[in-house]
Structure formats: structure tokens, C-alpha cells
């Protein structure tokens, strides 16, 4: 066949299909830092920590395998585990719903076309932003101290002699819950943004039909906001499980008085870096992962019944 003579002249404009290497290399090059971090600082350590959780390890001697001993101790014979878990669950169950309720209430109020919205929004957001800094924990410790400002106010306004909040085990955890509620700003901002996403014509149509305010709220606002409520609830709960700094600073690292503020993470920290029981602490960490995972899975399952999606 006479191919040669009639071959197209402009061969050079015909591009070869890139090789597999040329196609994939840039992506992997851009991801290189992430890969090092993922394998070296996340996946690798996670696997090592799973291994350590079956060992006894104090950093000095080589870890030696103890099978399920750590988990067995957690499940049966560890009073501190039980009390720290109780404290943490109580904290989560009290602080998260109240925090979200405040966030939603204020967001609804601010969304009603309020003059000075940016100022109010800023004021309510500020405490959450200052968040977990030591200064805020120190401040809280002084406010709720025996002769702190809370008791001063209680005395002047209500004539009550307040307890010594921080050093009384019956009240100490409540001060941390109040601190968490005070920081409702960041879920509030997310609620505000969520409220903005609700199409205004829905409201117009509803009010034309003569629907009452309560009806509009329960039939339009609340259902359309459920994805945002769900997101906030999951994020805030996971964060609450991980709370550390306020409890550490307010109790000077002890979790006292009588373990009343011994958060789970604080107990984990004490085991790992106080007693250097690294294997046991790794097991505690995995138990936390399981608890958070179970909670999250449960949330996602329940979401089917109450979270409203358009499509």
C-alpha cells in the first residue's frame, strides 16, 4: 500500500496520548506532603497505637504483649475509667443540647432583620473564638471561685450565699458546662448561614396562605434547617468528647475535686504522660474512637428519620 506518499504532512500537531506516568505523576507530586503526613503521622501511628493497646509499654522497656488485658481492665476493674466516662457523658449530654438551643435561639432572633446585626453577631461569636485558650479557663476559675464575681452577683441580686463552685464536687462540672454554653457562637454562625439558605418565597407563599408564625416555623424553618442542626450536633458532640484545656486548667491538671472534672481526655493524658502507661493509654484512645464512632453512626442512622433533604 502506498502510505508513504500520501501521508499527512503536519504530523507534528498530532499529540501522543500521555503515558500513565505522565498522567498520574503531577497528582502524586502535589500530594507528596500529604502522603508523608498521612502515612507517617496518621495511618502509621494509628496502626502502632492499635498494636500498643495490646501491650504494656512504659517508654523505657520494649513493649510486651499482654493480649486483651488493657481492654479487660477498662471493661471491668477501672474506677477512674468509669468516673471519667460518666463525667464526660454528663458534660456532653448537658452542654451540647443547651449550647445548640442557645445558638438556634439567638440565630433566629438575629435573622429577623435586626439593625446592628454584624455587631451582635461579633459579640456572640467572640467567646467561641477565644475558645480553649488558657486565659479563658483561668478567667472561669476566678469567676466561679468562692469569692468570685458569680457569688458576688448572687449575693447582691438574690441574697443567696453561693457555694464555692470550683472546689465543690457537686458543682464543679456545672461551671465547665456553663463555659461550654457561653461559647455557642460558632454553631450560631452556622445556623445563621443556614437560615439564609431558606428561600424567601417559601415564607411569602406561606404568609399569603395565612399560615401562623408558629406554623411557618414548625413547617418550613425547622424542617429546612434540620441538615444544619444535624451537622452542628455531630460536630459539637465530637468536640465535647475531646474537651481538655478547661478541665485541665481549672483543676490544675488533677480532674478534681474528687474526680468531678476528670474528663476522659484528661484521664488519658494522666495515664500516658503522668504514669507513662502508654499501652493502657492507647487502649483508652481506641475506646474513645469506638465511642465517637458509635455515636456518629447512631446519629447518621437516626438522621434518616428527622433530617429533611430536598433531593
Amino acid at each position: 500500500m502506498a502510505i508513504g506518499a500520501s501521508a499527512p504532512v503536519r504530523v507534528e500537531t498530532y499529540q501522543k496520548a500521555p503515558s500513565a506516568f505522565a498522567r498520574n505523576a503531577p497528582g502524586y507530586l502535589f500530594l507528596l506532603p500529604w502522603f508523608i503526613g498521612f502515612f507517617g503521622l496518621t495511618l502509621g501511628p494509628a496502626l502502632v497505637s492499635l498494636y500498643l493497646s495490646f501491650t504494656d509499654y512504659n517508654l523505657l522497656q520494649a513493649p510486651h504483649l499482654v493480649g486483651l488485658d488493657n481492654y479487660a481492665r477498662i471493661a471491668t476493674g477501672d474506677d477512674k475509667f468509669i468516673s471519667s466516662m460518666k463525667v464526660t457523658l454528663f458534660y456532653v449530654v448537658c452542654s451540647v443540647p443547651l449550647k445548640l438551643a442557645f445558638a438556634l435561639m439567638v440565630a433566629l432572633l438575629l435573622n429577623r432583620g435586626i439593625r446592628g446585626l454584624p455587631i451582635y453577631r461579633a459579640i456572640f461569636y467572640l467567646p467561641s473564638l477565644l475558645g480553649s485558650s488558657v486565659a479563658i479557663a483561668v478567667l472561669w476559675r476566678q469567676i466561679f471561685d468562692g469569692d468570685g464575681v458569680v457569688n458576688t452577683l448572687l449575693w447582691y441580686v438574690l441574697g443567696i450565699n453561693g457555694p464555692s463552685w470550683i472546689s465543690n464536687p457537686n458543682y464543679s462540672l456545672y461551671t465547665l458546662i456553663i463555659l461550654a454554653i457561653w461559647q455557642f457562637g460558632s454553631p450560631m454562625i452556622i445556623f445563621l448561614a443556614g437560615l439564609r439558605q431558606i428561600p424567601t418565597d417559601l415564607y411569602e407563599a406561606a404568609s399569603l396562605d395565612g399560615a401562623s408564625k408558629a406554623r411557618i416555623f414548625f413547617k418550613i424553618t425547622l424542617p429546612l434547617l434540620t441538615p444544619v442542626i444535624f451537622f452542628n450536633a455531630v460536630v459539637q458532640t465530637i468536640d465535647a468528647f475531646k474537651a481538655f484545656t478547661p478541665a485541665y486548667v481549672i483543676s490544675s491538671g488533677t480532674g478534681g475535686p474528687i474526680d468531678s472534672t476528670l474528663f476522659y481526655t484528661l484521664y488519658l493524658y494522666q495515664e500516658a504522660f503522668g504514669y507513662f502507661r502508654m499501652g493502657y493509654a492507647a487502649a483508652l484512645a481506641w475506646v474513645l474512637v469506638i465511642i465517637i464512632a458509635v455515636f456518629t453512626a447512631f446519629s447518621f442512622l437516626s438522621a434518616r428519620y428527622w433530617v429533611h433533604y430536598d433531593d
Binding site: F38, G44, R115, L117, L129, V134, V138, Q197, T265
Partner: protein, 294 residues
């Protein structure tokens, strides 16, 4: 997934409505009252720093009977090392963290948002998975790793990971933003023979300044506020960050010098407060977007 970028949430979307004046009044009274409750603790701390020792407790008033600024000098110079050392250490760690996070996370985000390669969806799912993983799981092996590397008692464990894109939240935020940038831009550039690197550097980054700024600001604030990391890795007082310095200050002064404790607490909040003041819009849009667009 919605096509998302950091949209600017306008404040006048819901313009002030006509409503009976007394209703407006009630709402504003409620909001002002709530604002006072929110700000009172912070103002009380600030005023405590210029009050006389005996005046801090037993009164709820914010205005001191006489202004005494000596607490700032006592707090700053009072310890084994001056508070300036802590501030300097915190600034160094925070600035390096910002640089590390912005560079490494934007590289990863660009790959996930714009490049095609084998296994991309798999890696992306893994990256999102790390968002959910509590850091406690990796904490102990990471500590052992840094101990074996001889990095414990230095700032390296606090800074180096930031250059390795460990904060998946920022990658996620940037991916969302990058996806909102018109594809035609980099496709045209690719036609012209631009390398992915040039596209990333000359097109994506300049167009992404808002999200990069948001990530930088959050990165700074979170590093500045971080207590746990420094608590574990820093044990020499000369390397302490502001948070650790403040904590040791609490322990060492015990229950004696409240006003200087409040003075140093106030100082430790200043950078976050200033950033908040100047970049409020970016912070609020950032957090709103991250929450909404999943």
C-alpha cells in the same frame, strides 16, 4: 455536592422589617442584655488587671476606684523568664504553622480539586476520613516517634506536621473553594502548555486568596490557643508558649497576685482579639461555609 466557594453572606439580605416599635424595643433590649452577659467576663478580666488586689473580689463593678497599670510590668517581668519569651515562642510557632498549613494543604487541595490521577477518589475519601479521627489515637505513637527522632523538648513536633498537610479541615475548605473556580481558566492554560505547577502557582493561588487567608487566620488562632501540644512536647521554660507560660504563671503565683495574672491573661488574648477585629468577615464566612457545604 454543591458548587461551593466562600460566598460573602450579605448583611442586608433580610433588611430591617417594619414592625411595631415596642417589639423592636423588646428584641433589642434582649440582645443588648445577652451581649452584656457574653462580654461581662472578658471585661471583668480586663478591669481586674488594673484594679487593686483587694478590689478584684467582692465587687462586681467593672470600673476600678483607681487605675493601676503596674500589674502589667509585674506580670511581664515577674517570672523566671519574661513573658516576652513566651510571646516570641508562640509567634514563631504560629507563623511557621500558618506557612506550613497554607502551602501543604493548598498543594493537596489542588490535586484533589483539579488533577486526575489513579486512585484519586480513594485518597480523597481517606483524607475526609481523617477529619473524623480524634487525635488521641495518633497521639502516643507520634510522641514516641518524635522522642526517637530527638525532637521532644523542641518546637519541631509542633511545626513540622503542619508542613505535611495533617489538618484535613483546611484541605477540605480549599477543595470546596477551588471547585468553584471556573475550569475554563486552567483548561485554557493547559492548552497553552502550562504545567500543573504553573497553573497552581499563577492561577489557582492568586484567585484563592480569600480561602487561603481564612485558612491562615484559623491556623494562627488555633496554634496560638493550642495548649495540649506544647504541654506534651515543651518542658523547658525557655521554649514555653504563651499558653504554657500563663499556666505556669497561675501555678507559681498561686493565690497572690490576681491583677498581674489577669493582665497576662488579657495580653495572651490580644492577638486573637486583633485578628478577630480585622478579619471578622473572613472568619464568619469561613465557618459558615465549612458548616454548610458538605
Amino acid at each position: 455536592m454543591t458548587d461551593a466557594k466562600l460566598t460573602h453572606f450579605p448583611d442586608d439580605l433580610n433588611p430591617p422589617r417594619e414592625r411595631p416599635w415596642f417589639l423592636s424595643l423588646i428584641i433589642h433590649v434582649a440582645l443588648v442584655g445577652a451581649s452584656i452577659v457574653m462580654l461581662y467576663p472578658l471585661l471583668w478580666m480586663l478591669s481586674g488587671s488594673i484594679k487593686d488586689q483587694n478590689e478584684i473580689f467582692g465587687t462586681a463593678s467593672l470600673i476600678p476606684s483607681q487605675f493601676d497599670f503596674s500589674s502589667f510590668a509585674r506580670g511581664w517581668f515577674g517570672g523566671q523568664v519574661t513573658f516576652g519569651t513566651f510571646v516570641w515562642n508562640s509567634v514563631v510557632i504560629a507563623v511557621l504553622s500558618v506557612i506550613g498549613n497554607v502551602i501543604s494543604c493548598s498543594l493537596a487541595a489542588y490535586a484533589f480539586a483539579r488533577l486526575n490521577f489513579w486512585g484519586k477518589n480513594f485518597w480523597f475519601a481517606l483524607m475526609l476520613g481523617t477529619l473524623m479521627l480524634p487525635y488521641h489515637v495518633t497521639l502516643i505513637p507520634q510522641y514516641i516517634l518524635f522522642l526517637k527522632l530527638g525532637w521532644v523538648k523542641t518546637m519541631l513536633p509542633l511545626v513540622v506536621p503542619k508542613f505535611l498537610a495533617v489538618d484535613a479541615f483546611f484541605i477540605f475548605l480549599m477543595v470546596q473553594f477551588f471547585r468553584g473556580i471556573p475550569r475554563e481558566l486552567d483548561e485554557a492554560a493547559m492548552m497553552d502548555g502550562c504545567s500543573p505547577w504553573r497553573i497552581y502557582w499563577r492561577i489557582m493561588l492568586p484567585l484563592s486568596l480569600p480561602v487561603l487567608a481564612t485558612a491562615a487566620i484559623f491556623s494562627f488562632i488555633w496554634t496560638w490557643d493550642d495548649f495540649f501540644g506544647p504541654l506534651i512536647y515543651l518542658s523547658d521554660i525557655n521554649t514555653y508558649t504563651v499558653q504554657l507560660g500563663l499556666r505556669s504563671f497561675v501555678d507559681s503565683t498561686g493565690s497572690s497576685d490576681w491583677s498581674s495574672l489577669f493582665a497576662m491573661s488579657s495580653i495572651s488574648l490580644i492577638p486573637v482579639f486583633l485578628i478577630f477585629l480585622f478579619f471578622q468577615r473572613l472568619l464568619i464566612d469561613g465557618i459558615a461555609t465549612a458548616g454548610l457545604k458538605r
